[in-house]
Symmetry: D3
Subunit: 291 residues, 6 copies
């Protein structure tokens, strides 16, 4: 029998499903993207790029070889029928949660976070959200659309309510969105930076937490590969303290995602490396804390 | 009062709407594109590129400066709601037809041809279609979707019926699509080449004809800027005989479109020039024949 | 009558000329560029990119929808005849000033700042210049040429004299240029950084000030799209304090420009976003302070 | 149990190894490439691109869904130790041949054809070679090296001898290489074109034949993605008659390869599509003739 | 003493000046380019790319190793002062001619052909011009400019007069330019193709001939790297018969140039290879015929 | 006699070999690169780019015009035979050292530092190494290979022993490599940053020091042009303090290199500028301290 390389999975994420604590899956969807599309290519690009990484994270002193993480591949989607795509994503997430594992979704545009959080919310109604992004994503509608990458956090707020969502790095939005967050206190928002993350993490002590990272929270200098880059963002060194802070935090991580990598816009491949390294490091944290 | 350059219109297509015989409009839509997106950027790229062209076509010995063509800009679309987008396109086309002018649509993905032809069909129920493409676009559904760039000619066949559609350059599709065309004779199909175009044009003598050009009918050597390039296509020299043949043909042109330019995939800009030159030359033919 | 989108103007800069406080215009000229050309494409690229921005600036808490800014388009130029191009730019600037509005020029290479400042100087002989750049631009000649992107500030010094020009971010030049500035104190120069900007702004209390921003003052990590990138520059976060400091400053802004974006050298588009965001935010400041 | 998409194999090449008539495998090696490297990325790029293809070939009227083709993945290689890499490739090929299947190798640089043909030669000592290429590859040494992409056909000639190798499309080489082929008649060579292919195929009646395609035989207009492009090559339409001629030929195909795709040099992706379509169509021919 | 590689010259063009029959020199100038600049980079790119070529041309059966060709490097230019640049180019050409050698200029934009032909004309007042191009270059002025890439052949006609200039491949221009050539017979023009080249060469029997090749005569499929690509041009196979026809022609070649390669617009590098191969093959012809 | 520009050397590095204090040479080798190749193109790209720089460094207040630096070109290499390439590099370095000059090598991949340091070690057995890098390069074997870009510092440690190597900026490697350095104290390693460089330099007082800079120590935001980018690295402003600290340090610099620039991965050209500026500034320091 012939035994060759396959490279279908992210490097070092080869745990059998039965043993996996963390299950990674890709959502190649960018159907509501209003400006430059391409996040549909992110999960495949990240897998391909992972061969250039080590399984060991010096930042965290953790190694994927000692972790139980499985890259399950991409979810098949009915492209063109957005409500149905939402159901397909939610069903996969619910299955992973039902099997007692932690879902880690790789987008796609930010809208795909919605069905993942819906499934998480059904299992953990008291879940809190840590949200990194350049944009508020708090519009009520966009292009006459309730379901959009620009409305996703507003939709999540619809069922989570006030006091549950904590935004960092925000530096773009309409005046209405900033007022919704700031004036009405619906959402905790730290514009531009992530300086208050330690206090927020401390305030979430013992809570169940879902982490959604729109990678455009990073400055486009280190992450140009995204549809709507916004200068003035986080440096990678600032950003990676998210992983070390979460590793040491007294809270339970019940799910995570990274979204909005659009690999074609960065021919150097650096943005894809940023996505791959974020996936490796945050997976290591999820696995580590679940033990 | 200050008077500066504006460059909002395609070079030489500046007739007032009242005087225009041919009205060009853009449809920046690629919502059902299954593979590589980006045709939403085509109409803006073509306008920008037009400054590198001349208004005079040596091939046709016609000049836009002597023609009555207006570039009306892009249609505002409810991106994300495909059925509604279809209606918006149809309404604009119907308006142009009602005002006694010839519509020339610049896509966008090929699906946007559907509402244009629907509007044309309502005015001219006996319209025939000349269709240049690499792909048959004859599927009944694609990704469980009736409205798709891969089903558009099938949808047009739904209401036009047999004997009305003439395809050239086709070199990709499922076995079912080829059988639909060939075995059942629903659609005239010339695979790979356009050698029989003279006979087809002769057979359409005196008829009303709509021309839809999926620019990927061209070989990707000269038109790489498209989502699904298919090698083995038409050379530009073959292709441009379409314009000279139409100029001399004994038939009435009642509308036209060029679709599927995805400018970002061709950093040399040649594909956009091909789009711009096609728009110039086919507009000149439409204007010339309408006089 | 048909009413479609046009997109000829920068997003939100659609005030009628009569009402406009700030008039933006583009100068697509790079005729003396010695190294990599391409700044001629900057103004068109910035307009196209502006659709990805919001009209609201969270940094400044100001919105273009509440401002009186007009994007007037590009000035027609006699490319190839540099002295005549200089006159054409000066004439447009003088007209805007005569009509009581504030000119905001979008280059183009840095040489095009010269005729704008000449027109401003004729109206405001006591004008001071805040100059952000990687390069001193203080040569007397370059390639045997008095009129060059590398001599522009020296030419301005010719008529403004000592004590009027304040440079920040400088990190490249000949020994002679640094000596001209530093040893002879002809020009205030802060190399590498912008740390002393608050003192300089304080010292300009009540003065009329023109701001010229060569965007290559920014580090090429966030602004690679320029002909002569110089590592070691300003981060975007440092840079954007220019706008907040100016907003609160006790001085009168009588004109501004941003120059040296060469969009083709940055395929990610981030550099163009930096240009667009700079234009939005500095326009907002100019408009705000003029009220 | 979770069942997601995997996309590890070329579209439609999913036969179990037991049932497969044709076994495709990738060799990501470009270790002796003297000019521009990158063919190591070809097999992964072709797999990824295959989703944009159909399984049906209108040219051949054959469908991968009716064929027994397996994409077995990439061979693990000791990169940096060229002789050992040669052994690893030969071992895999020999295994496939021993199991009664037809090997189809996807390079990598052209040197990797050598061990494949060595294994084929050991099973079929009377094998003949049809060789498409822009370059003769007939040097005795290159950079003082016996094992090189520029010497591979000379090395094959070392053990196959005269009268066994048939070259088409050749348009680059040293005078010595052309003399070796032409003057001494060691190798049949048709420079520039493939016009004599029908006669050659007729002369190989009943013979066992291996086909090696250096994709740079194609004109760089349609295949720019290669390390050493040579203008003046085959058009895709000429080239694809290779497949139809082989389909109808009275000879036995015992193995094949396509080499020298370097996907990064063609940002449009067309070259990768050419590789994918060549792999699909030639696989269909191999499968069809083996039945 | 240390002896390392230098690579300052085109591969195989290393004859000492004393011995050289053909002297190649570069003119990195694109100062009047109206659309996309970048031909200033052509000569350096061609030299760098030449290492991927052989010195032997199978097309011509000639080898640079047997020829007396010298690559003399680039001419230093007073960029920004077009009239002075013209003089600098003319002086170098006159020197080469005075020393009894054949000048071969590598542009740069097409305007730089003017001073070369002026110098040739002063030595050979009866010179005839074979001109390959997509554009007529017959305007009298362009952007109010007498000296422009779009007027260069008109300027040459000014002193050469009727019956001396033979154009091939032309497919773009204003109606006035085509009328100037066709209606008034000032210039022989074959639009679109080069089919009549044999007759023209025959008619030039015994004459002194200068060859100017604007590489955009080629179809942009194989030569996308140019500022103003025009689809519908020559294939490389057609084009290269120019070299074989000239090799066998009964006329004297007194100079040549290739212009309008803009290497940055073709990231695959194919356009630069086309330039390098043209330079090699035409140099071989010039050298061969001069013996 | 004809005297044109040649541009074969880095700007301002034109000292005759006899007078040179510092001799720069290029090693276009990337034969063991496991991931993305291309560093073979670095030295040629840096030379070409140097025309955009000044000879004067404002950071150091030193000018190449006052220094004795010679760019000697690239070393000819037997590509494909790694052990022999190592000997060729060592021989050139030894020659330069024997002639009393300081070698400055421009890679190529990091493996090429090994033979340079071997030659330096033979002259100066007490040499210490300052090493900037993102990766430890401390593996014992990689791909079963003792000679690899991933093992180079381990190979140097083999003969230098403990206490001689000082690493900064490290943020990637296997657990075994970090343990080798940290646990066993074989090598001084500062992960992520270069904060302790002043102490290290102080501790090297009076010592002979060789500096090897893998440019991927820089954050990929400012240096994306490398095969294996690692986010989280040094900013350019941090990095350039290396040069000012070395200028003022009380130690003897006996050699240096910069490696791992892969120019094709950064189409903006910024990475090449970073390489060129590093070469200029570190050459100036080497020259300055040798006087």
């Amino acid at each position: 029998m012939l035994q060759l390389n396959n490279n279908a999975q992210f490097l070092g994420m080869e745990a059998p499903y039965e043993d996996a604590q963390v299950v990674v899956f890709g959502i190649p969807f960018d159907g509501t993207t209003s400006n430059r599309p391409g996040t549909r290519f992110a999960s495949a690009a990240i897998r391909l790029e992972s061969v250039g990484l080590e399984t060991y994270s010096p930042l965290l002193d953790l190694d994927l070889e000692d972790a139980n993480v499985m890259d399950a591949g991409d979810v098949g989607l009915s492209i063109g029928d957005t409500p149905r795509v939402m159901e397909e994503i939610k069903a996969v997430t619910a299955q992973i949660l039902k099997d007692g594992k932690i879902p880690f979704m790789v987008g796609g545009e930010h809208l795909v976070t919605l069905p993942v959080v819906e499934a998480v919310f059904e299992k953990y109604p008291d879940v809190h959200i840590i949200h990194f992004d350049a944009h508020t994503d708090l519009r009520d509608t966009f292009n006459n659309n309730k379901l959009s990458h620009a409305t996703v956090i507003r939709r999540i707020h619809d069922f989570l309510g006030d006091g549950r969502i904590f935004q960092f790095g925000i530096r773009s939005g309409t005046k209405e969105e900033f007022d919704f967050a700031r004036v009405h206190n619906h959402v905790y928002m730290e514009p531009h930076t992530m300086n208050t993350l330690p206090e927020v993490i401390a305030s979430l002590k013992g809570k169940k937490v879902y982490v959604t990272i729109d990678l455009d929270c990073l400055d486009p200098s280190v992450f140009p590969g995204t549809g709507t880059p916004e200068p003035g963002g986080l440096t990678y060194r600032e950003y990676q303290t998210l992983f070390t802070q979460l590793k040491d935090a007294d809270l339970e991580l019940v799910g995570a995602d990274i979204v909005e990598l659009s690999p074609h816009y960065d021919p150097s491949g650096v943005s894809t490396v940023v996505g791959a390294k974020s996936l490796r490091d945050l997976s290591l944290v999820l696995d580590h804390k679940s033990k």
